[in-house]
Amino acid sequence: MTTGEDSSSGMTASSIHPGAVPVCVGCGCLCHDLELLSGAPDFRNCELARNFMRRAGSGNSRTQDDSNDRMAMAARQLRDALHFGRSIALVGLEHTAWEVQKAAIALAEDLGAWVVRESEFQEGGSPWAASFAQKGCTTASWGEIRLRSDAIVLWYAPLWHTHPRWMERFGPVSSRAHRLAVVAPGSSIAPDGWIEDQMLRVDPGQANAYLRAVRDSLKDASQESPDASVRRFVHTVRNSHWLAIVRGDDPPGLAEAFGVAESFADLVAEANSTGDRRVVSTHVPSEINAAGLDALLSIRAGLSTPMRFTADGPARALGEWSADKADFVVSFFTGLSENDIPAGIRFVAADAADSFGVDSNSGRTISIPVGISGLGATGTLIRGDGVVVPVRNVRKTSDPDLLSILIKLRKALRAKGESNAAESGDANARFGAEAAQ
């Protein structure tokens, strides 16, 4: 796989997708003012990207070609590992950049594996998708946040998101005074410590209790929390006219992830209910393709299996998932951990975190670079805040390799759906078969 370069911007653009919008290979941030020297990657305007690219430990910069090589290596490792499985499920393809999908589908085809979407696997979608479906949300795009907010709270923001460069997205364009509070898991620190003095700590496992305490204090001013961190959070909300809460991905292993998502939605709704302030929340993913990106795209493309609901709301446990029959699960960027997988099923997670910075694979995790131009199944990239960036439509590609992969994807989905329908007779499963038609 090769990449071309856009000489005018100095940023990389895929040669498979000439004309596609250049994307920073450092973090996929879509910043449009970066300068990357051809052949010798050097993000002149972005210390963050430089650090990001050098985090391999060797001090050497990474190029996109490096990342492609690394992905190919990771794919080979996966393929080798998968030879141990007899009945394999590949989970979470909606969360990957397309190059990774390409490799994964090729693997699935070679191995006769099932392709299983994460939403099926989790039976209720992600905690945040479930929370959205239950309660809705009040949100805003980054331009609105930058323009209007007089305070920003970062909730579980990935470390590099607290970097000054990244925060420029929310930098003031007017004379508004911006305050900043950061809520982070207990052990996190900012990369440069530049906002450490404003960081509010949440002890591991206490996120939901923390949010409940904030909500209680907001609802009843006489209930002042004994926790100084909570008091400061509440103070920030109360003293803001236009507050943005910028949410990163959940930290791995977050206890009560569904509860946290629901409490978060309640907090935003209740904070808005007074009518004298506006509180918006927005999600900033740590990967190019946000969790919701392909959910959106696939729903309109018709490939998504509906979420499964019970009388009490979205089901949260593994149920009739077809891969219950699998003996080997490969998770692509799903946030799934070994604990999520039923006993007796082998598990490998392909994880995008730190994709440019990992030299070797540790434990059961194989890292696959994602710092590559990303695009959804139908060719539109939606930024984390919902702003649409046009890229090339994969489904209309003339690239023979890509066409071949897409045909294989369709076949795999169809086979999986038919298998589900035959086995369970379940309406959702039948739909899966129809959707793959």
Binding site: G19, V21, L30, H32, G125, A129, F132, A133, G136, C137, T138, T139, A140, S141, W142, G143, E144, R146, L147, R148, R169, H241, W242, D276, R277, R278, V280, A295, L296, L297, I299, R300, A301, G302, L303, P306, M307, R308, F309, P314, T378, G379, T380, I382, R383, D385, G386, V387, V388, V389, P390, N393, R410, A427, N428, F431, E434, A435, A436, Q437
Partner: protein, 566 residues
Amino acid sequence: MSGLVKIAGGRVIDPLHGVDEEPRDVWIRDGRIIAAPEDPAIRPDRTIDARGYVVMPGGVDVHCHVAGAKVDASRLLRPEERRVELGQARAAVDDFSGGTMGSCPTATMTGRLYAGMGYTTVNDAAIAPVGAFLAHEELAETPLVDRGFLTLAGNHRYLLEILNRGESVDERVEAFVRWLVWRTGSLGIKVVNPGGIETWKQGRPRISALDDQVPEFGVSPRIILESLCKASAAIGLPHPVHLHSLNLGLPGNHATTAETLRALSGLPVHLAHVQFHSYGGDPNDPASLRAEVDALVELVNDRPEISVDVGQVLFGPTTVMTADGATAQYLGGLTKRKLLLDHVELETGCGVMPIEYRDKNLVHAVQWATGLEWFLRTEDPWQVALSTDHPNGASFTAYPELMALLADSGYRRESLDRLPESVRERTAIRDLSREYSLSELAIVTRAAPARMLGLVHKGHLGPGADADITIYQPDSDFRRMFAMPRWVLKGGRVIVDDTEIRAFEPGTTHRFDQPRPDAESLEPIRRWWLHNATTAWETADIGDHLRSSLRTIAPRTHGQKEVGDV
């Protein structure tokens, strides 16, 4: 499609050409309607025996919401709909994609459902400029129908800034509108709650009067509207400003609507979902809602340059989606249901929420009757387009039900009898006995909306028109008749036969035809963009590759261009 097709002996209804259920033949070649060959020896390659059937142009929906981020968000917000309604529209053809139903069907299903009931052109009435590329992608995935959309303009901060500055306003607003329509590849502009969305996004109290001031900018909704209507007319956009005015859905809003029409005297304008803007009652008491259609209908009857679509409410569950975040927040407060509110990138807003219109709910019943009053009291059907503001008033799949209510006064009375008694006191519906003829139905569902949108090749059966044709089996049950046409032709090709979809046609998307805006006129906008926006200037534009793939619609020049001037 190069073959010669003849639709033989049908009861042809072509209101533009004054043809009303006359037995005629319709000839088609190369996807277009042609005059009957003069040489009697010429034989068609295919003949559709339409004797006994009703032949009309394909349906045209002037106002619906079928693409863009708000539709995607509604699908995410409402998975319970997808749980209830699964599966595919009736189809005997594999177009290699599937989808889901509900009040916001997926793109593929949307195309199938429209085509399945004889509609062949749809116009999404509200696409955020920042979402234009996505909308085009989705519309391209909506098969069997031709498409177009209007882009949102009335709350763009650049517009508010130039109006506030007050220098060379006409020239700058015109340049702004040209840029907006060019960059989005749209047919024209929609104005939603002018200045009201920006005010809401600031977190300020709602503005409700035409001369209220938008905070920070000191401009009024009246100024915004007048400037955009003038610019739209000067540019010759094929469709006049498509207006969702102030105070949507609020009791007492008829006064604002009337004042708005008077303010735009002499300027062409299209009032969107006018039913939602025609209420009396106490603004502070939602339960006091009553119809207040009289004066508004008179204004429209006297002003042929005004057109309306009704936004009919029909009973059942559906989804509210609007750029008017202020109204959505108000509704959310009333209903206490899940609600999405979005602040969209310096341009507009968004609100999405589930709703169920119940026939035992007096407010909903009044809305139902208010819409029907509009249809039944507007003298010239050419000024009215049938719509439910899909999915806001009801899904577009309910159009056959609405057509039955218009054409069958007995069915209308039966429906009215199921509603709360008080609806008779709050509306004039019980006094209206008018029944739409088939020709009038063809006007409000085809000929008029095509004319309103400036789609000169749609909505009629004259030579040169697109061969988009629907052939119905006459039936005293109008719901059945209009739900399942016997044949539907798209571009001369039979896509529905025996009520099933039999062929896949990708359809095309329309845009306004104008020259590329010159760099000099764009420079102030570009500078503003670079300072304020969070995407590259280049990504604000859908790009020449996509633009060149769209079918162009010529400017409206001297007054209203008639459908049929092809």
